[in-house]
């Protein structure tokens, strides 16, 4: 059995909205193993995004505990959490979230600045990462000079900047067409296999479920069921026309 990289224990998250209390998570118990490719599924309002934020050290639970790499997130200081986000977790967003004032290389090297790498180390490593995602020729282009697929590739390179143990991908193909979406999924899967990094993805995309090791269904703030890839049948059609 592989190491547990993320563990949640009876995680509850409540949001106060005026006099009402909305319980987004109602006691989630989940273990995610090192090197696993896991997909979180659930309808809008199921608590999927809230759980995603907890696992990514972006938010803290109202009750219960979240462990990432064996560390209880609730016990860490602000600077330790920032260190965690910088070194241990790589984020890939639906809308890419690149900084528009920076070039592709500068976007990729920003987390490396926070990690304390020298200018030359950053430049070399950033160029290598962009080359690996197929953007070696476009490192000095700004996001508005790149296509959606290329922007997401930059975001993927940035997510891997400091050698994270977890990649969090929030609907990474939602804004991309089928062919480009497939390329992005293949790239993430390839890095998952090559680097042994754990990929946790929130998605509705069947193509992403196809490459997942496990699929976690979230409903009404609870884990409804967890399925292994071989337990489900997915037929992903190919779109022709090149």
């Amino acid at each position: 059995m592989a190491d547990v990289v993320v563990k949640t224990e009876k995680v509850v998250k409540e949001y106060r909205m005026g006099t009402n209390v909305l319980r987004a998570l109602d006691g989630i118990d989940l273990e995610i193993y090192s090197g696993e490719y896991i997909s979180l599924m659930g309808p809008s309002g199921s608590g999927k995004s809230t759980l995603f934020n907890m696992i990514g050290a972006l938010d803290l639970p109202t009750a219960g505990r979240v462990f990432i790499d064996g560390q209880d997130m609730g016990r860490l200081s602000q600077s330790q959490i920032a260190w965690f986000r910088c070194h241990r977790v790589g984020y890939i967003f639906q809308s890419y979230n690149l900084l528009h004032v920076m070039t592709a290389l500068e976007n990729v090297t920003l987390p490396m600045i926070f990690a304390g790498l020298s200018t030359s180390e950053r430049r070399d490593k950033g160029a290598e990462l962009l080359d690996r995602v197929g953007l070696g020729e476009r490192i000095h282009h700004r996001p508005d000079e790149l296509s959606g697929g290329q922007r997401q590739r930059v975001a993927i390179a940035r997510a891997f900047a400091n050698g994270p143990s977890i990649i969090l991908a929030d609907e990474p193909t939602a804004n991309l067409d089928t062919v480009i979406g497939r390329e992005i999924i293949d790239l993430i899967k390839q890095l998952n296999v090559d680097q042994g990094v754990t990929v946790i993805s929130a998605t509705h995309d069947l193509k992403m479920l196809d490459v997942s090791d496990r699929i976690v269904d979230i409903r009404d703030g609870l884990v409804e069921r967890i399925r292994n890839r071989d337990e489900i049948e997915i037929q992903v059609g190919e779109v022709g026309g090149h």
Binding site: S95, N97, S165
Partner: protein, 226 residues
């Protein structure tokens, strides 16, 4: 793409000052149009302040020179220092500047929620975000105040030329005279003080928006739509 050793945890996250300067400057240059509009407020305020102070310096200098020479055009004028009305106007204009800067920076923060959230997701500490916004505002303040100080000075020079003619150039109070009572600061020192004041006011105006930006939870970045 090496992975960190599992289980260990550090605290050391850094953003070297020169990198902060570079990022802030780059951010200003990319949003040049908006930066110019924000800067215009501080330019006008400092131009007004500097023109009043330089006018006062000029009138004192010319009055003193007049006591040594027979120049009748300004004989009747008594240098009275800066009037209460002018002082009030200066204070009001500077308050308007600070409010204008605060308003612009609040808008900038709102526009850049996603950018701030993303930076925090990448490991930025609250103080990095504050520093970036304050630096941006400081640059704007310095540039705006320098332009304003030069405009104010030029305006006073033209006004002085109209009142005193070319004699103004002989007695123009460029340098400070500190051993007189009251001390005269000179135009260079007024310009310098105007620049520093403009920068300080700009940073004060940006302080609350920068703090607000820094406190933004990173989860906001996930939620925000482009």
């Amino acid at each position: 793409m090496e992975q960190q050793t599992r289980g260990t945890i550090g605290q050391q996250i850094e953003l070297p000052f020169m990198e902060s300067v570079r990022i802030s400057f780059q951010s200003l240059m990319i949003r040049f149009g908006r930066s110019v509009i924000t800067t215009a407020g501080i330019t006008l305020g400092i131009a007004f302040l500097v023109s009043v102070l330089v006018n006062n310096e000029v009138s004192v200098a010319m009055k003193e020179s007049g006591s040594k020479q027979e120049i009748t055009t300004f004989e009747a004028e008594e240098p009275k220092g800066i009037s209460m009305k002018d002082k009030w106007l200066i204070i009001m204009s500077l308050i308007v500047c600070v409010v204008g800067i605060a308003n612009s920076m609040l808008m900038a923060v709102t526009e850049r929620f996603q950018e701030i959230g993303t930076m925090k997701c990448l490991g930025a500490l609250d103080r990095f975000v504050v520093r970036l916004f304050l630096l941006e505002s400081g640059f704007q303040g310095l540039a705006g105040a320098l332009i304003g100080a030069l405009i104010g000075c030029l305006g006073s020079l033209l006004l002085g030329l109209k009142d005193y003619g070319l004699d103004l150039f002989f007695y123009f109070p460029m340098l400070p005279v500190l051993n007189e009572q009251p001390a005269r600061f000179g135009v260079l020192l007024i310009i310098l003080a105007g620049c520093v004041l403009g920068m300080i006011l700009s940073v004060i105006g940006a302080a609350f928006p920068a703090w607000r930006a820094a406190k933004l939870p990173p989860a906001e970045a996930m939620r925000t739509e482009v």
